[in-house]
Symmetry: C2
Subunit: 332 residues, 2 copies
């Protein structure tokens, strides 16, 4: 039986958040909300992988600056990305010298990390911690599919891995906090097409939401938004169909970071955005500021992950989905 983790006794709150993105994200509907962008997607580096590492460094530096803190004042860093062996995280962030918990949960890593950090802050002597997650379109394309220079035709269901990094600093006593959360269960997406990840992840997002409403005592009407990570257009449609049948009302307040980050009419993003940096940057620069300004009060935030590798897909394995959940609340 899945368990809710409750932090009401000592609520972990956001001290600051920051985002660093690439060209397409800057040109999208949320473009002006992101803190920093580099139109070349390279952040001054000579490879896409090093660019992603530098984007992470930039985002964490900015979050620290906004919080008025030095790296030595951060007790713990939780982070991860999509690169093989998560090197954009380790090489980008090691120089801060912050004790580190390395995570891999594909594009769901942002929510997984915020939930674990909430646990550390709420229940242990951890006073202050950081979360950083990222993805880079060109690094992901050549790792998971084909190098962008190859010019391969993308299928209509394919999602566009966001070039983005989101960073968060949390402690206690702030205006917006995480009051509860729940880890995900790995659910067989029953899809083996790496260009149709939204469909593969929709079932796990439904599993988590259905379980949450069953055990939490909350109803969809308690929330302003249910925000999934990067189901994109196709996965969101599948999720909402399932929600309408089983958790009526939830589909009406559903939105998705992969749908919000790009303008579908202007850019051939097909299925919408994806990547560990997609939900992280949209939370950091869109939803958290709305909560801080009091425009919204309560959201459920669920980054969605597709657990697969090029090797596992070639060997005929289905794509597995995972969806952790956090309840983010305005506390004033």
């Amino acid at each position: 039986m899945r368990k809710l983790l409750n932090f009401e006794n000592n609520i972990p709150t956001f001290l600051s958040s920051a985002s660093a993105v690439g060209k397409e994200e800057h040109l999208g509907p949320l473009g002006n909300k992101f803190d920093i962008y580099d139109g070349s997607d390279l952040y001054g580096m000579n490879t896409f992988e090093k660019a992603e590492a530098e984007m992470n460094r930039t985002a964490l530096n900015l979050a620290l600056k906004k919080a008025g803190l030095q790296p030595s004042q951060i007790d713990i860093l939780l982070a991860g990305d999509l690169d093989n062996q998560c090197t954009a995280t380790s090489s980008g962030l090691y120089s801060f010298g912050i004790p580190y918990i390395g995570l891999y949960s594909a594009c769901s890593t942002c929510t997984e990390a915020l939930l674990l950090l909430s646990l550390l802050i709420s229940k242990t002597n951890t006073a202050c911690g950081a979360v950083v997650t990222s993805s880079h379109n060109s690094a992901a394309e050549r790792q998971f599919r084909t190098p962008v220079e190859y010019g391969g035709q993308r299928t209509p269901t394919a999602q566009w891995t966001a070039t983005a990094s989101g960073a968060f600093i949390m402690n206690t006593g702030g205006k917006v906090g995480i009051t509860e959360g729940m880890f995900g269960k790995i659910v067989d997406g029953t899809v083996s097409d790496a260009s149709n990840m939204g469909a593969a992840m929709a079932r796990s997002a439904f599993d988590t939401l259905y379980t949450y409403f069953k055990i939490s005592g909350h109803a969809p009407s308690d929330f302003d938004f249910i925000v999934t990570g990067d189901l994109g257009h196709i996965g969101s449609e599948i999720l909402c169909e399932m929600l309408a049948k089983e958790v009526s009302g939830a589909e009406k307040i559903h939105t998705d970071c992969g749908k919000l980050i790009y303008d579908k009419s202007k850019k051939d993003v097909h299925g919408g955005g994806s990547g560990c940096g997609c939900s992280a940057s949209v939370l950091a620069s869109h939803f958290l500021p709305m909560l801080e300004r009091g425009e919204i009060k309560d959201i459920l935030f669920l980054s969605t992950g597709a657990l697969m590798s090029p090797g596992s897909v070639l060997q005929g394995e289905n794509i597995l989905g995972i969806t952790p959940l956090i309840h983010i609340k305005g506390l004033e």
Copy 2:
């Protein structure tokens, strides 16, 4: 400043542990202690990656059987491996249906996972959890270096990735527990040779041990053993030189799972064993049984991780090391 996490108020304890290994591990000095081995290294599957997944499934099944529990009685699973995007974990373990926290911390994942599970059990409503970590020699060789069929000559410093999986079930009230722990800090190994990982990880192991003895109030004489994960022969020598100078006495009780798992005189393992499954299987089948039988009372256990990928090495990045720590204690 690094913080110790203390679990003395509600000590998480081991309910069971199990290991599944390959041919070379079975032929090694600890061969008869491992629960299950497959002399073909394939565990009935047709690829090494699927074999690793099946080995994970086997190890967790056996740990559950020893504990007398069904998967539905496990609240949370923390796991990871070395494969790109940790697919040996996700595809091997999803069918258990246990809520999942995906980790990536290279070969240090076992200690990282046990520390996080201790936190969940000690401080939250998590009653019972599982940890599984694995590696497979043939899957790792073709991913990180060259396929074994290629017959490449290994350098004298190269370590032998263990074909092994270790599984642990924890709750409270048992005989052997985790009383405290500390996460690692990413330390530049100042080495960029992927065939010399022990040397790259030694500095991070020293950093964690030095910090632990500085802040914990403990001295090396409080412990039977200081067990590192897989520094192997070369990394262990470097660590012990540093310890002898700075934490005198610690070097005398140091041992390393990568040194214990193979007989150097019989097998050309060169630098010794490595891989997420190395320290996990040696803890599960060698050190935990010694603690349970009361032959030893206190150990510090530190799996060591080399944070790098083939891509990061080709792009000229140094190998970064990380070493979390747990204090495992006989409670009777």
